[in-house]
Symmetry: C2
Subunit: 275 residues, 2 copies
DNA sequence: CACTATTTGTCCGTATGTATG
DNA sequence: TCATACATACGGACAAATAGT
C-alpha cells in the first residue's frame, strides 16, 4: 500500500520553479534567489525549499554550488509542444510528422448535466450521447474530451464509428451541417480521473475549452468540454488588423502559423507587403 | 506569525468538488458519492474527504445528513464572470456596466528574459521596458499583465501614462502602428506573487495568454504575458463556417457575443437567415 | 417492528511532512 | 545539518443516524 502523503508543499514549489525555468523566465546560467529568499517568497520553510531544489537538481535542471547559490542549467526543456489553431473547430494539429490517435474511454446515453442540457437546448427528459475520448500524439495523451450530442443526432453512428472518425465528421454525415460555433477558454485543475487519463499528476493546470457547435438553423449540435495538457499542447491564434484607422478592429486569421518567423531570427525586411 | 501549513490535500479535493458543483456537473439536490467512495476516487483517506466536505458545508454549498449522505445545496455560484473576446487585442470586456481599473505594480527597464528577447527580436544587450499591471473589475482583480516593450519604443511614454492609458494606445501614439499579432493560450498554477496580486490562493489554475504584437513592417512591438482568473474572466470566441462545402474552413468572427441566445432559451426559429 | 446495509459522526494511534531553532 | 515540536494525513474501529426490506 501507499506509505503516506508525499511532500506536497515541496512539490508545489518544485513545479512552480520548474515552470519558471521552462518558460524562460529563468534562463540558463541564471542564479536562483537564495533559499531563504525563496522560503519567504513561497511562505514555506527553508527545508521545504531545499527539497524542491534537490528535486530540480536531481533532474539536472539546476546546479547547486555550495557557498555560491543555485544555478539554472538548461535554458528550457524543449519539450516540443503540439501547436493547434484555436480557430479551427477540428482542432487540427499544425506540427507535422506527428501521429495523432484517439482512445475512446466511454460511450453511452445519459441525462446530461444542467449546463450541457441548457447549451444543447434539450428538453428536461431528453438524453444525450456522451462520449469521453483521449487524444494522443506519438502515443502520449494530451487532451481529454467529453462530448455531448443530442440523442436524435447521435443515433446515427455507433461506438465504433466514434473510435475512428472525428465526431464532427460523423455528425455531418448524419446530415447535420455545422455553421457556427462558440468557444470559451478557461483553466482548471486536473481531477483524479482526467489526471489518470492524461497520465499526469492531480492538481496540475489544464487548459479547458468549452465549445458548442450550431447548425445552419442555429440549433446546437454538439457540446464539447476539452481539457489540454499545457506542456504538450498550445492553443494559438493569429490576428490581423483590418480597418486601417479604426483602433479596435483586429480580425483573427485562420492562416497557419509560420514557425520560421520566430525560428530564423533573420532581420525583417522593411517595406514588407502585407496582404 | 503564521501558525503552520494548510491542509493541502483536503483543500485540493475541496476545490475539485467545488468546481464540479459550479460547473453544474453536480446539480442542486444531487447526492455526492459516499465519503468512502470519494476517498477511493481521490486516493486519500476518509478523514481528508471529511475535511473537504466540511469546508464545502461551511460555505453552505453542500448539506450533510448523517446516515444519508451529502447533498448539493446551490445549483451553481452564479459568480458572474467577465466575458472578453479573445479576438480582440485590446481585450475589451463585453459585459456592460462594469468598471475596470488598472493598477501599476512595477515599471522599469530590464534585460528581458531570453524568451522575450527572442520574441521581440532584440539584440543581446538591448533592454526592454517592463511593466506589471493588474486589471480590476468592480475593484476585484482578475488579470495580471507583464508587458515588455523595446526600449526605443517605450521611451516615448512614462510611468504615469501607463497607469492611465492602455499600453497599445501609447505605443500607437508613439508612431508605431500594430498590424498583426500572435497569441498562445496555456494554463499555469498561480505563483505566490501573482496569487497575492490577484487575491487568490497559491496553486490555483490560471489562464495564461502570451501575445506578441507586430507593426506593419512585421517588427515586434510588444510582448505580453497575461494571467487571468478563470472564475472571473472567460475568454471567448465565435466561429463561423466560411467555405460552403469545404470541411476545414471556420473563420473566427470578431462580433460580439449575443448573450440572449443562451439566456432566453426560446425555441430557435427554423429557416433563420444567416448573414 | 425488527433486521440489515449504508452512511455520517467520532475516536484512536501512528507515520510523515513541515516549521522552528 | 540536526533535533524538537506540531500539523497533516492515514488506517482502522465503533457508534449513531438513515433508508430500505
Amino acid at each position: 500500500m501507499r506509505a503516506a502523503s508525499e511532500p506536497l508543499k515541496a512539490r508545489r514549489v518544485y513545479l512552480l520553479l520548474k515552470d519558471k525555468i521552462a518558460s524562460g523566465e529563468l534562463a540558463a546560467g541564471d542564479r536562483l534567489p537564495g533559499e531563504f529568499a525563496l522560503a519567504q517568497a513561497h511562505n514555506v520553510s527553508r527545508v521545504t525549499i531545499r527539497q524542491a531544489l534537490d528535486l530540480l537538481a536531481s533532474e539536472d535542471l539546476v546546479q547547486k554550488r555550495s557557498g555560491s547559490g543555485t544555478y539554472v542549467r538548461r535554458p528550457s526543456q524543449k519539450v516540443r509542444t503540439v501547436l493547434a489553431d484555436v480557430a479551427n473547430v477540428f482542432a487540427h494539429l499544425i506540427e507535422m510528422g506527428r501521429t495523432t490517435d484517439v482512445r475512446l474511454l466511454s460511450f453511452d446515453y445519459v441525462n446530461p448535466p444542467e449546463q450541457v442540457r441548457e447549451a444543447l437546448e434539450l428538453a428536461p427528459d431528453e438524453r444525450s450521447q456522451r462520449s469521453v475520448r483521449v487524444r494522443l500524439v506519438d502515443g502520449v495523451p494530451f487532451s481529454h474530451l467529453v462530448a455531448h450530442v443530442p440523442e436524435r443526432i447521435g443515433r446515427n453512428f455507433s461506438r465504433d464509428d466514434l473510435a475512428k472518425a472525428p465526431l464532427l465528421e460523423l455528425i455531418e454525415r448524419a446530415g447535420h451541417k455545422g455553421a457556427s460555433a462558440r468557444q470559451e477558454i478557461s483553466a482548471v485543475l486536473s481531477s483524479p480521473e482526467v489526471a489518470e487519463a492524461l497520465d499526469i499528476g492531480v492538481g496540475l493546470p489544464l487548459v479547458a475549452l468549452r465549445r458548442v457547435v450550431y447548425d445552419q438553423a442555429g440549433r446546437p449540435m454538439e457540446h464539447l468540454q476539452a481539457l489540454y495538457r499545457p506542456d504538450r499542447y498550445t492553443l494559438q491564434m493569429n490576428l490581423a488588423r483590418t480597418g486601417d484607422e479604426g483602433h479596435r478592429h483586429w480580425s483573427p486569421t485562420a492562416e497557419v502559423y509560420r514557425r520560421e518567423r520566430l525560428r530564423r531570427r533573420q532581420p525583417v525586411r522593411k517595406k514588407v507587403k502585407l496582404k
